[in-house]
């Protein structure tokens, strides 16, 4: 494809437009990560819960586990990216909300999700083996 800009209507790169497209891509890519993480999460629950399960048993397996820390850390990161971007679209479409304030709310939702999510991850993997 030819991408040469004409001298008559030369367009300079627009950071805002580029950001919109990259956020769209982040929304899609995080969805793919979420799909995998949710599948693994549910499959492990179904596998692990056979014959009953206690909090102590779960913590026994997760505490100090770098693998689970990485997995759930990634899970939270994907959720913290995906959910606010989806909310941004919903808020924009249903309340005709645009601009900087919407961007700030989006970022705050993301920070909130990441904070509470990673705190929960720390709670189950942070302490060493029981």
């Amino acid at each position: 494809m030819t991408t040469s800009a004409s001298p008559r209507h030369a367009v300079t790169a627009s950071p805002n437009l580029r950001l919109q497209v990259l956020l769209w891509a982040a929304h899609r890519i995080s969805a793919v990560v979420l799909a995998i993480c949710v599948f693994v999460h549910l499959a492990v629950i179904i596998y692990a819960v056979r014959g009953g399960l206690t909090a102590a048993e779960i913590l026994g397996r997760t505490s100090g586990s770098i693998a689970w820390a990485v997995f759930y850390g990634l899970f939270v990161a994907a959720a913290a990216i995906h959910a606010p971007l989806g909310m941004r679209t919903v808020l924009s479409e249903h309340f005709n909300w645009r601009g900087r304030s919407l961007g700030i709310v989006t970022v705050l939702i993301g920070i909130g999700l990441a904070f509470f999510g990673w705190r929960a991850v720390y709670a189950v993997v942070g302490a060493g083996p029981a």
Partner: protein, 216 residues
């Protein structure tokens, strides 16, 4: 309303205007599915009325005809198509070639990849059915909509066009192809069986690639 064999919805509207209510306003031209001017909402769905048989859409004998959604109504069944075509212009739906009329023809090989990509999309007749069927247009009135983006897709794949970068910038972003939720009402309702959602998906790929390269 007399029921006739092979009666179309446009026949019904014409009968009403000629025999029952001469004040009824509606729009049509070719009556054979080429011009794209007779689209209306028929029993809740946007359709081209000249090629829509009453027997197909009014199984229970009831027919409710309304103007197209997502466009301002001028009168009765006539909508103002200006916002629709303004968006074609906004999506940079104009071809800009490098040549003048004094130059030789620029050949585009029918079997070339880019030409084949738009085999369907170039058949659009601009009836507005997809635009009226798109929920995203309803929710986000500044969204360019399926028809304008489909037009842009045909030009993005036109190897002669020299303003591709401007066009990608025109169709990218929150009011452009990235607003599409891929609900595919456009593809479902297109009377020509075209696939605007596929064209929009193509634009999403190209604009993302341009954004990653910093060309947007």
């Amino acid at each position: 309303m007399p029921r006739l064999e092979s009666q179309t919805v446009l026949d019904v509207v014409t009968h009403i205007q000629r025999r029952l209510d001469p004040t009824l306003s509606y729009r049509f031209a070719c009556r054979v599915g080429m011009c794209g001017s007779c689209a209306m909402t028929v029993n809740g769905k946007a359709r081209w009325t000249c090629r829509t048989h009453v027997s197909v859409v009014a199984g229970d004998g009831k027919l409710e005809i309304a103007p197209l959604h997502n466009l301002p109504v001028v009168k009765d069944l006539v909508t103002d198509m200006a916002p629709f075509f303004d968006k074609w212009a906004k999506a940079k739906g104009q071809f800009t070639g490098p040549d003048t009329r004094k130059d030789e023809f620029a050949p585009v090989k029918p079997e070339s990849r880019q030409r084949k990509l738009v085999d369907e999309a170039i058949e659009c007749i601009g009836c507005g059915v997809c635009y009226a069927s798109c929920d995203v247009v309803t929710w986000r009135p500044d969204y360019l909509g399926p028809a304008a983006l489909n037009r842009a897709w045909t030009l993005v794949n036109d190897v002669r066009d020299i303003e591709q970068r401007d066009r990608l910038a025109a169709v990218a972003g929150d009011a452009g192809c990235h607003a599409c939720h891929t609900q595919m009402s456009c593809t479902q309702r297109c009377p020509k069986f075209l696939d605007p959602a596929k064209s929009i998906a193509g634009l999403k790929r190209l604009t993302m690639s341009a954004a990653l390269k910093g060309e947007l």
